[in-house]
């Protein structure tokens, strides 16, 4: 029933069309949940294999990279447990790319709703993040099974590292995605820019190679910049979670710290800061541009 009269009289007059953005979404979790279900359903309409595609695509990708990078270029001989090394990084980049491409199109994609009914518009990019998460879970399962077969014995800190990797990548990608989702309403070129970013993503993080190969080539300050990018951080955290606890990766008498750069604490704190800042900035940009969404669509 409608808010009863006494309560209604107590409510102040408010300006419609203003929301607290991401902070308000908790109230909308019922709708958020339904939007995620809808997006998953729509994605796989008319598809026989459905969700199985989320296994097939990364599996093919992994095979190609493993043969090309690991065997032809010989990286597999230099890095023990290269399959796990490679895949643990790829999963994070796939997560990043999926969030970014989904969020960027999320407002355009929901144009009929955005233009006709007022809802906190952040609902759409955020539901895209959940959809990306649903897609990354099978990949993580495959990763864990593969790692277990190769003798993965994680400690509690490794698990924490894996969760932290997803969080950092998720915040960073949502931040960029919010900004691009808003740009996309005004200029469809945003989608091309995002494709460019996605192409670069896998190379600016140590997915194929190891961080010290970058340190050997780049000047120190530039290497620090490289390290603080949340993608490199997420991938390295993922290595820490899934690759390092694999049997034979850490030589006898060594510890995981020996495989990480000396300044790892500092750059990871900075990387976290960059991820949080990108989320805040993305929200601010989104908020400033959303006022004209309805008339631009």
């Amino acid at each position: 029933m409608a808010t009863n009269d006494v309560e209604l009289a107590d409510q102040p007059l408010r300006h419609p069309g203003h929301s607290a953005g991401l902070l308000e979404l908790f109230k909308w979790r019922f709708l958020l949940n339904l939007l995620v279900k809808k997006e998953l359903r729509v994605r796989y309409r008319g598809s026989v294999l459905g969700m199985i595609w989320s296994y097939v695509k990364p599996a093919v990708q992994l095979m190609v990279y493993y043969v090309a990078m690991g065997q032809f270029l010989g990286l597999g001989r230099a890095i023990p447990g290269y399959v796990v090394y490679l895949f643990s990084g790829m999963v994070m980049i796939n997560f990043f790319n999926e969030i970014l491409s989904n969020t960027t199109r999320s407002i355009i994609f929901n144009a009929p709703l955005v233009g006709k009914i007022y809802l906190p518009r952040e609902l759409f990019p955020v539901s895209s993040v959940w959809v990306a998460f649903v897609h990354v879970v099978p990949q993580i399962v495959v990763l864990i099974v593969g790692a277990l077969l190769m003798g993965w014995r994680p400690g509690i800190m490794n698990i924490v590292g894996g969760v932290a990797a997803l969080l950092v990548i998720g915040m960073f990608a949502l931040g960029i995605g919010l900004a691009f989702a808003a740009f996309d309403v005004y200029f469809r070129d945003a989608e091309n820019l995002v494709e460019l970013l996605m192409m670069v993503a896998i190379w600016v993080s140590p997915v194929f190679y190891q961080w010290h190969m970058v340190a050997d080539v780049l000047p120190k300050w530039l290497f620090t910049v490289y390290q603080t990018n949340p993608l490199a951080m997420g991938v390295e955290l993922s290595h820490y979670a899934f690759w390092m606890p694999v049997e034979g990766v850490i030589a006898p008498g060594q510890s995981p710290a020996d495989l990480l750069p000396d300044n790892v604490t500092t750059v990871w704190l900075l990387g976290l800061l960059v991820a949080v800042l990108s989320l805040v900035l993305g929200q601010v940009i989104f908020h400033r541009l959303e006022g004209k969404f309805a008339q631009e669509l």
């Binding site: 409608a2 009929p112 233009g115 007022y118």
Partner: protein, 251 residues
């Protein structure tokens, strides 16, 4: 319940101006060329969709926005709902606002009728529990019980509209906005829709309606606001407002 002039204010528009620009360009390249060549010429045309509009809606009132195409009726509803923001002036509202701004905007063809009821209910601001409680009543109103677990893409357009309408009239907001769609479907269902609107009206539901069906509007609303090129030209009891509009039509 009759509306009193000193009733609780549900919506208040004060000197509202809404400008639209009809942008000619759509790509960054064109924009940069335009910018780099000294920003000559207009990239866009501007016009005022609403120009200094002020009025107040109090609880229990049913207001019709009248006017010809392009007079700013729908824009006014979009400002009240929050879909659009005013360029100057202020719009303030109280309570939960929902409506039939466009029946079926939240419907998705790949979901079943049941799933769409939940999705639409949530979009219009209902909680899960509220949808659960009203589900049977919504389905009964729509009259498509047999097809509720069928994907909506297999519905006829009439069934589609009936379901969407049924959800909307069960949302029970504090301020109900209706744009053009007072009635959908075949004749019997249309009668049902109109009966439901009158029932809401009699129960003291605050309504803001946009429609070109003047006879119907006379039946449902008590006050009419006539808009012309984005300006309020008359704010009067509905019969007077309808007569005024008809007289300008014959000019």
């Amino acid at each position: 319940m009759t509306a009193s002039p000193d009733g609780l204010v549900m919506a208040e528009l004060t000197n509202v101006v809404k400008r639209f620009d009809l942008r000619h360009t759509r790509s960054i390249k064109e924009y940069i060329v335009w910018w780099a060549t000294g920003r000559r010429g207009q990239l866009s045309d501007e016009f005022n969709a609403l120009d200094n509009v002020s009025f107040t809606v109090t609880q229990g009132e049913s207001i019709a926005l009248l006017g010809f195409n392009g007079s700013g009726k729908s824009t006014t509803l979009k400002l009240v709902s929050g879909v659009m923001l005013p360029d100057s002036g202020s719009v303030r509202v109280r309570g939960r606002i929902a409506g039939l701004i466009e029946v079926g905007a939240g419907m998705h063809p790949d979901l079943t009728g049941r799933e769409n009821v939940y999705l639409n209910g949530a979009i219009l601001g209902l909680s899960e529990q509220q949808v659960n409680e009203r589900f049977d009543s919504i389905v009964a109103f729509s009259g498509i019980e047999k097809f509720i677990d069928t994907e909506v893409k297999f519905y006829s357009s009439g069934m589609y509209m009936r379901l969407a309408f049924a959800v909307a009239v069960h949302t029970d907001p504090d301020l109900f906005l209706v744009d053009e769609v007072l009635a959908v479907g075949d004749e019997p269902f249309q009668r049902k829709c109109i009966a439901r609107m009158k029932q809401l009206r009699a129960a003291g539901q605050t309504l803001m309606v946009v429609s070109h069906d003047l006879e119907l509007i006379k039946d449902i609303c008590e006050r009419g606001i006539v808009l012309e090129h984005g300006r309020v030209v008359l704010d009067a009891p509905i019969a007077e407002a309808v007569d005024f509009l008809r007289s300008t039509m014959s000019d």
